[in-house]
Symmetry: C2
Subunit: 270 residues, 2 copies
């Protein structure tokens, strides 16, 4: 029927049928940083006008999207409701929490917990400098794995084949001067990270922001994640970060150990 859906944009690919298309549209709108108009979406998702129109209609009916007065689309409230339990019921986060707090007390800087999902890191928790900010603006945020500390740490703990698959799938965008520009460059650093046991982000994703990170792996649950301590370069030197590396590795190890125990045998009985 369609000659194009064979190509993989970034999603899993073929067999997902109608739902896959709907989700691609949803993701296009949710990922964009401003309300998307019909034509915008038309371009990001390569679908015929008629189809897209109906798809959007359904998404709005379902409350997944909201159409504003100027006809542009925004993510709807229902998403928040649905996500609620994927966060609040997240045992892994619960387990990690005290360790994150401890790490924050030791360093005084922002601590992140993120989970690897293909080429992305999704942040599931954050402890930051005691501020009035309540829901941290980062929860649920997705960042590319190849240019973040947690991302690289997580990648480094994958089997080589898996790592290469993901590296091949990654789109290298030069966020800053120091961002990796190729899979080769990334794979090189991963080697080093494997030896050291921790990863640095030297202003590779955002200028003036750097971090140390270590990975957390729970194979029984196909869970690959990481913790990091992040700070602004003007306050946190690389030497300082290096000094924290052991603590970060330590925290990661503790979380990993506890998760293995408390999350149970998992899909071992598959």
């Amino acid at each position: 029927m369609d000659g194009k859906n064979v190509t993989d944009l970034e999603s899993e690919g073929p067999g997902t049928g109608t739902l896959g298309k709907a989700m691609a549209v949803l993701e296009a709108v949710a990922t964009a940083d401003r309300p998307q108009r019909f034509t915008d979406i038309l371009q990001s998702v390569g679908q015929p006008r008629g189809t897209l129109h109906r798809l959007l209609g359904h998404l709005v009916d379902e409350g997944l999207l909201v159409q504003r007065g100027d006809l542009s689309y925004e993510p709807g409230l229902r998403l928040l409701k649905l996500a609620y339990r994927s966060w609040s019921g997240n045992q892994f986060r619960d387990i990690a929490e005290p360790h994150l707090l401890r790490l924050h007390e030791m360093t005084g800087e922002t601590v992140h917990l993120g989970i690897l999902r293909e080429t992305e890191i999704i942040y599931v928790d954050k402890v930051e400098s005691r501020q009035t900010v309540r829901m941290s603006s980062q929860i649920g945020k997705a960042s590319p794995a190849y240019c973040t500390g947690i991302g690289k740490a997580a990648l480094s703990s994958l089997a080589q084949g898996e790592l290469e698959r993901i590296a091949a799938k990654t789109q290298f965008v030069a966020f800053t001067e120091r961002t990796h520009r190729s899979a080769m460059s990334l794979l090189g650093e991963i080697e080093e990270i494997r030896r050291e046991g921790h990863a640095f982000d030297r202003e590779e994703h955002e200028a003036e922001i750097c971090c140390v990170a270590a990975s957390i792996v729970v194979p029984e649950h196909e869970l690959v994640a990481g913790v990091s301590v992040t700070g602004p370069s003007y306050r946190v030197t690389m030497t300082q970060l290096a000094a924290w590396a052991a603590d970060v590795r330590n925290a990661a190890a503790k979380i990993e150990e506890e998760a293995r125990i408390r999350l149970g045998p998992g899909r071992g009985g598959r």
Copy 2:
């Protein structure tokens, strides 16, 4: 094809096609408070086995659900990613924030901001007693409108017809002794709330918890919401709540005014 999907569980109803069924499944899993097994879902969503099986397969492929080792299903991380912008890009929340903070400073108790979505209130922000808790456990949570302060305040600002439609759709569950048990009972209180301009929750949803709330309405954006101040009964008496009512109404009015201005003309040009 199917003789049952005509009945409305709680979702919009018919014309949403395949996507609608998928979302019903997703919602069933996300709403349940523990991992759902195939058979559990089979019962909550009235779909034939074959259909449900494929549906679940697709949802897992898309990352919306995760299948665990014991074959049970949980909400997936992708939901968190998708919800991210429905929260972080939410202008209304941004606008309300300073007012919530002020209200919190005045009262010292927990302040909520919630938006009405049919029969439910979805909490989009929360300011609580300065604790170490970071992401408030409430963001994205959905509670029934008929037994919460914000819910009743929001309902009271609807046109009578709309109110009755929603009341008719509501399932009255007796959470506590004081929970409304019928639409009639609810409609009665709504009358009163309209006169007063604010609503109380007298331990109707959770024992030992009560609140005062006032509604926020931005018709241009089809937005019906509310703010509340909540506290445990042992510390916050009804007299105390009544004393705060004016402040709550005031904050609501301020938010409403600012939202009208800053959110722009909205769908007026429809």
